[in-house]
């Protein structure tokens, strides 16, 4: 989908055309869902946040400026929603969090969750390497996590990352370097000795 086509779709959305919006969702849904998934490391929460991002975009499409990129806009929305949810979890553990103890008559016990993820991700989770890498990413600060997701998982260019974050390419370079070095330290054992 080229820019002209996308601009035309956005104009149709502004006139209330839900089918046009559907085309935008189809184009961007995978990236948006995966941003939320890697940020939150939780399938259901990621689905919820990614869907909310599109619904918000639809509601606010009238305010969207045609001189900016829809891709950048929806990325910002989903990153911000993910970050807000993470901050919410930081203030109080989510009710279905693995970390949240279950209150029983015998006192608090640690919850054992059934793996709800569908098969593709379940398969990946079974792989210990994948689990360790995901854990290491989840341990990064939010700003390091988002830049690793954008660059190393989603393959965005430095310029695209700079637009989403709202900074210069120099900042992208230095922040990405720092994030990767931290990640390397976290995964040192796995890299050197395997599993």
């Amino acid at each position: 989908m080229n820019n002209a086509t996308e601009s035309a779709l956005i104009e149709r959305c502004k006139q209330g055309d839900t089918d046009a919006f559907g085309e935008l969702v189809i184009k961007h849904q995978k990236k948006v869902f995966n941003v939320a998934l890697r940020m939150l490391d939780d399938w259901e929460e990621a689905k919820d946040v990614a869907q909310e991002a599109f619904i918000r975009a639809w509601r606010a499409i009238g305010t969207f400026r045609s001189d900016s990129s829809f891709f950048t806009w929806i990325y910002r929305i989903v990153f911000n929603l993910s970050k807000n949810r993470l901050k919410g979890w930081a203030r109080r553990p989510r009710p279905d969090s693995i970390d949240a103890p279950v209150d029983t008559e015998d006192g608090d016990i640690t919850r054992t969750l059934q793996d709800k993820e569908p098969s593709p991700d379940k398969i990946l989770l079974k792989k210990e390497t994948g689990r360790l890498v995901k854990n290491a990413i989840a341990e990064l600060s939010i700003k390091h996590r988002e830049i690793i997701i954008m660059r190393d998982i989603q393959g965005l260019s430095y310029q695209e990352i700079a637009e989403v974050i709202g900074c210069g390419e120099g900042t992208v370079k230095s922040r990405l370097s720092r994030a990767r070095l931290i990640l390397k330290e976290k995964l040192k054992e796995v890299v050197n000795h395997g599993l």
Binding site: K30, R91, S177
Partner: protein
């Protein structure tokens, strides 16, 4: 090139984002330094492991649920698309808010001061004009103006505040017309609004839970209280209204950043400083264009004397709704 510098460059080198000179120096170092060669190998393996995570397919019912939602909850019409009768109360809101803010700010630094020789004191029977005539400017202050006494300098300052607020709203496209305001309703609700605004200055708004709860839009202009209910549609479209509390050490940086992002102060820095003498707090209200909000936050973070911004009161538009935040800036020690 030493090892530390070389290792810092590896990330950009992998992405071919180094200059020719940096590339040559780094490759030379890598050829000679076994430690860095091993480091680089580990580095590449780490990135490769992250890349191998790949992308998951979206859940099967993902798009259907979005479609159901957007067909049930139609897109909000933009301001310009709304009929005139719907827009009128929003414009009236601008007038109501401006008048109330002027009253509160005026009260902050005038009320309670003993009249000095030469003061201009309003008489009991003075009528309050709804026009902003220069020679009537002190009298033009609403409501409690009857109880105010001020020097000509204070009157000048108040009038300056009036103009700044009017300009700020004018920049947002709000045209002021006192005749359009429902004066009777304004009188009825002014008292409650004043109290709410004064309270919002004195007491920090509780931190937002960033919850998914949808906030009910304000139905009538007169019902709107700053930072407690929905701001005007114009603000919703173009601006984020922020309240900054306790800016010790960061005022100049904030002013610079607000201006560099096309922001407009509702409370002027001068008025904020003046209010600080009375309340002991620096309080500033300003608008930042919505699209520039995150750039603004990041730039503020980069300013040397400000360490961080903690979202905690104020109103920030996050996409389709407002959330309450208060920005507290902490000076670096």
């Amino acid at each position: 090139m030493d090892c530390k510098a070389a290792q810092k460059l590896l990330s950009s080198y992998m992405d071919k984002k180094v200059s020719e000179k940096e590339k040559d120096l780094l490759e030379l170092h890598l050829r000679e330094c076994k430690t860095c060669q091993e480091f680089f190998e580990e580095f590449k393996k780490t990135i490769s492991m992250v890349e191998s995570l790949g992308e998951m397919e979206v859940p099967t019912d993902f798009i259907e649920e979005i479609e159901r939602e957007i067909k049930n909850v139609p897109r909000r019409k933009s301001f310009a698309e709304r009929p005139l009768w719907f827009r009128m109360p929003v414009e009236a809101l601008g007038t109501v808010l401006a008048v109330v803010i002027i009253f509160v700010l005026g009260s902050l630094f005038i009320r309670g001061k003993a009249p000095a020789p030469g003061d201009v004191s309003l008489q009991k029977d003075d009528k309050i004009s709804s026009r902003w005539m220069p020679d009537e400017r002190v009298r033009a202050l609403p409501g409690g103006a009857k109880n105010l006494s001020s020097t000509p300098e204070q009157a000048d300052e108040l009038y300056g505040v009036v103009n700044k607020i009017r300009e700020a709203y004018s920049d947002m496209g709000v045209s002021f017309s006192e005749e359009e305001a429902d004066k009777k309703q304004m009188e009825r609700e002014k008292k409650a609004e004043e109290k709410a605004i004064v309270d919002s200055f004195k007491q920090p708004t509780p931190p937002s839970s960033w919850s998914k709860t949808k906030e009910a839009p304000a139905k009538r202009a007169g019902k709107v209280t700053a930072f407690q209910q929905e701001p005007s549609e114009i603000m919703r479209r173009y601006n984020i209204t922020m309240k900054v509390d306790d800016l010790s050490g960061g005022m100049n940086e904030l002013i610079q950043q607000v201006h560099s992002h096309g922001g407009k102060f509702i409370t002027s820095p001068e008025t904020a400083a003046l209010a600080a003498k009375t309340t002991g707090k620096n309080l500033m209200l300003f608008n930042i264009p919505k699209d520039d909000y995150y750039k603004f936050i990041w730039n503020i973070e980069k300013v040397g004397s400000i360490e961080k911004i903690v979202p905690s009161g104020g109103r920030v538009f996050t996409g389709d709704k407002f959330v309450t935040v208060e920005l507290t800036m902490e000076a670096k020690k």
